[in-house]
Symmetry: C2
């Protein structure tokens, strides 16, 4: 088994280092190889996703990813910007199924913007399609408008699209996941306006017939954005497209108040996966040793479970994290009165010790 | 001056009736004419936006709109569904500028999901472009995929697009609005992924140079969805496209906890406008006389201010609503311990009396 370790930019290197230490202490049989990605790769090789990094990722069973991006790359041409690396990895590895849990840990309820009774015990799984939709649809670009409100004017355009097999496979992923949970799926669409999402809704409904034990409902994306705020605990598994999933999974993550705790997994059809924290590269605190490594450590646990077939090792990490939280250690992002503030390294130490 | 009154479906008729009573008592010189729209129009004329209704709306200075929609129309072909009426009105009247205030009234802070300190005093103005983007972009439909992940498969697609003048005019609306407020605009885009929104960002930046007194910043839509939850009061004027605006304006409205209080205005370039509550037709409580008419009454106030050039009359309505809230009257949606629960009609009576 081989893991590609891609720390990336900003706090990426610090948090991935802790996850690697946690993996090391488990003493499992796999190889880890590190490579540059994002801004760091651009600096060294002139491209955010160099051929060598992509090759390593492809030949590995899993990618452990930190974060990419920094304000200083904002002026680069789009294809050279750090976030293109993540889009490139998703596309080239065919990572169509993104798992974004939004969990509110008992000890961290106070960190949420929401009233405790609305958020305590939250455990949603957002499944976002990750290789289709308007993210990758062609054609796209700039041109002269031939119709619309201002024919003859300069315009820019993108193409939203989903094909039947793309919707079918992500729907199956959602129904299968729901079977292991509370057997409820909410499919989020905008079928009242978009052809793509009427099609999406039709197909999810069809696939749902193969899972009569799973309850399926449909919700418009605007309503979903509202219901997440109003009563997040009403959701269990949510499945949606790439663009809506981008927005809703971040909204749901922030509802918990502890985005520094939330892992994610992006899988392809052979369970090869990319694992990364739900938060970003936080250039403002990079290098200060204060970032929360737990989302990355929990991403490593997801990796063990989904791609490396080591569910016991995954569970060991997860319970170690629970223990550390229970012991009162907190990085700055989740710190509150009465708990002990620690840095990235100390937090990693504590998880290692608990294992 | 002429107002087209389109109550629509569900609670639409009840809440619009109260707004009409409030307008009547102001004793201003305008004509009101009522017509069917949405499901009600479909039942009577076989179309949610009959020619006669569209004609009335076009020749009026303003449209006072209730709400449309009911589960029972879900099985109709898309062009016949109630919500097509609202899309048709926007398109045919050229209502490109949608104003969606998200205000948290002092007395209603407790109704929010958010902790009081995060939401008390919230006053955001979301300006959503309303006639462009993927809502109306052509081509759209179903076809056989020629490329992508599954060439040969059935697929559905839509076109996202914005032309330069469309972005310029909505940007100007936002900067002008900001000048009358705290002189800050946040433009929300997804320039890191979409050609359309890189173009959007470029043009908003250009237009911003004409408004050196207004501070402009840019935010990705996923981050905006998070920041709205984390620190909504950091926003003032937010400007964005039709699709992102649909999602974010509903999220922001729900953050206040009192969506039954939030009006909206949709204007064209000659200040002709459509005014409607931010909430929907609520078929579950329709006909029970319990719906909150205040969002519709406040929409009538926006109408007086924006389309009918009667700012004093608008202010009279708004202060009457404030007075009624202060007196402790509440419809069910905003009721809390210690306040008096009233129905739609009594709430209307109270506003009329306060005027
Ligand atoms: C960086 C960006 C391209 C990316 C996305 O939009 O998918 C990010 O927001 C995410 O959700 O992983
Ligand atoms: C009913 C629907 C077409 C509409 C929209 O998406 O614009 C609604 O959600 C709104 O925001 O007014």
């Amino acid at each position: 088994m081989k893991i590609a370790v891609l720390p990336g930019d900003g706090i990426g290197t610090e948090i991935v280092a802790e996850a690697v230490r946690v993996l090391d202490v488990l003493d499992l049989k796999f190889e880890m190889e590190t490579a540059l990605v994002g801004g760091a790769a651009y600096e060294a090789h002139g491209h955010p996703l160099p051929e060598s990094t992509l090759k390593l990722a492809k030949e590995s069973d899993a990618v452990l990813f930190g974060a990419v991006g920094d304000w200083k790359y904002d002026k680069l041409d789009r294809p050279l910007r750090p976030e293109q690396a993540i889009l490139g990895l998703r596309k080239n590895l065919g990572l169509f199924a993104n798992f974004r849990p939004a969990i509110c840990y008992e000890q961290l309820v106070g960190a949420s913007s929401l009233k405790p009774e609305l958020i305590a015990g939250l455990d949603i799984l957002i499944i976002r399609e990750l290789t289709g939709d308007i993210y990758f649809g062609q054609p796209r670009g700039r041109r002269t408008a031939v119709d619309g409100h201002f024919p003859g004017a300069e315009e820019a355009f993108d193409t939203m699209r989903y094909s039947r097999p793309e919707v079918e496979r992500i729907a199956r992923v959602a129904f299968e996941a729901a079977r292991k949970r509370s057997k409820r799926v909410t499919s989020v669409d905008k079928a009242n306006v978009l052809e793509t999402f009427q099609f999406w809704k039709d197909i999810v409904t069809e696939v749902g017939k193969e899972y009569p034990d799973v309850e399926l409902d449909h919700m418009y994306v605007d309503n979903a954005a509202m219901q997440l705020v109003k009563a997040p605990k009403k959701f269990d598994v949510v499945v949606t497209g790439n663009m809506f999933g981008d927005i809703l999974s971040d909204e749901a993550a922030m509802l918990t108040g502890s985005i520094g705790m939330l892992p994610s997994a992006s899988l392809n059809s052979s369970n090869q996966g990319l694992y990364e924290p739900s938060h970003g590269s936080a250039p403002d605190i990079a290098g200060k040793g204060v970032a929360n490594p737990l989302a990355t450590i929990l991403s490593a646990a997801m990796m063990l479970r989904f791609s490396l077939n080591q569910p016991e090792a995954a569970a060991r990490i997860e319970s170690a994290v629970q223990q550390v939280l229970a012991s009162g250690l907190r990085t700055g992002d989740i710190w509150s009165e009465g708990t002990k503030r620690v840095g990235t390294r100390e937090m990693g130490d504590a998880v290692v010790a608990a294992i």
